[in-house]
């Protein structure tokens, strides 16, 4: 074989698995939906891996797949309604129920879909706005505005004037 070759897929999972999970959680919430989307993303990516151009941007490619898989997960729920997993019941790793984490999750959940996606892909996956726009549609400028609007809304709704870090470290 003379063509340049792909790295073992295990390396892709190790390098990008954490970021993709972060993105899925930001878009779908911290529960089983995000894990389903992560699993479907990496299974589809593993299938397509040998055919991906060697110079492709792997992270952008994975986020693009994750975006579609997250939409699939939501659609599957609409077809076959299941109880909504309420955010306060989700396991928290910090502090007590009703803490700032669940407030922020609730605020993230309340964002319009597009703002939540744009924030996840730009701020959590680190993709430039042009790539974010390629994934969600529309222009790079529109993606930038949606991200700014979303962050402002989170800042107003999710986090009060007090410092959550102080409270967390004192518990």
């Amino acid at each position: 074989m003379t063509s340049p070759t792909h790295t073992p897929f295990e390396q892709v999972v190790a390098e990008h698995g954490p970021t993709v999970l972060r993105v899925c959680r930001a878009v779908l919430g911290p529960g089983a939906d995000a894990e389903d989307a992560w699993s479907e993303t990496f299974l589809a990516a593993m299938r397509a891996w040998p055919d991906l151009p060697v110079d492709a941007n792997v992270e952008a490619w994975l986020v693009t797949i994750a975006h579609r898989k997250a939409i699939d997960v939501v659609r599957a729920h609409r077809r076959r309604p299941v109880p909504v997993d309420s955010v306060p019941d989700a396991p928290t790793r910090h502090g007590l129920p009703g803490d700032h984490d669940s407030d922020l999750w609730a605020a993230v959940r309340a964002l319009p879909d597009k703002q939540r996606q744009v924030i996840a892909y730009h701020y959590l996956a680190g993709l430039p706005y042009q790539q974010v726009a390629d994934i969600v549609g529309g222009s790079a400028a529109a993606a930038r505005r949606a991200a700014a609007d979303g962050i402002n809304r989170l800042r107003r709704n999710g986090i009060g004037d007090d410092d959550p870090h102080l409270e967390r470290s004192s518990s």
Binding site: V23, E35, D101, W105
Partner: protein, 206 residues
């Protein structure tokens, strides 16, 4: 009042992937890939008296055993190049191989009962490698003898390179082939590892 940067960094922490979730998701991916015939190469490592071993298997059988000194990453890259890049660390497929290697290294197993995949070798080298298990436990042959046994008495050097490129050392016993001088000779895992295996077999051959 908090800033946008604080909000972003809290969101980052909030959505962070903990290692427990990631390892559960990895296990789920291993099972799903296996179920959909996407797991072209599964691997694990095994700590042994001759160092950390990389064990890799295709659905057809054990395809690679690599010593730490050979570089596990290099061995995985060669598998990606020559077999398939659909590779996951997925220990289950290697359960039997790992158990048999542990038994062999503790002296209670004298031959391996494992399906082998010689995808990484071809031609005369493969012929030689497939012949090697016929050299019995605790015995040694010279490169010259092996060349005669495979019906090509002049190919002594080629037998040497077949042993040197054995993709399945330990399981395919290239350590039982020695230079005519009686020295231990070269080995993928280093001459010390070869001497260790020969001593182990001598001790348990009786």
């Amino acid at each position: 009042m908090t800033t946008s940067d604080d909000t972003v960094s809290r969101l980052h922490d909030l959505a962070a992937a903990d290692s427990e979730s990631l390892s559960a998701l990895h296990g789920r991916l291993e099972a799903a890939a296996q179920g959909e015939d996407l797991l072209d190469v599964a691997y694990r490592t095994l700590d042994t008296a001759v160092g950390s071993l990389l064990l890799a298997a295709t659905p057809r059988g054990l395809v690679r055993v690599a010593f730490a000194v050979q570089g596990h990453d290099a061995a995985l890259e060669a598998l990606a190049d020559r077999v398939s890049p659909r590779i996951l660390q997925a220990p289950r497929r290697l359960d039997t191989a790992a158990r048999e290697i542990e038994e062999y290294l503790s002296g209670i197993r004298r031959s391996f009962d494992l399906p082998l995949d010689f995808a990484l070798s071809q031609g005369f080298r493969r012929t030689v490698q497939q012949h090697l298990p016929s050299i019995g436990y605790g015995r040694t042959h010279s490169y010259t003898q092996v060349a005669q046994e495979v019906g090509n008495p002049k190919a002594v050097r080629a037998v040497g390179s077949a042993c040197a490129t054995n993709p399945l050392p330990l399981v395919v016993p290239c350590h039982r082939v020695l230079p005519a001088s009686g020295a231990v000779g070269r080995y993928a895992g280093g001459p010390e590892a070869k001497a260790t295996l020969l001593a182990l077999e001598r001790a348990h051959a009786a």
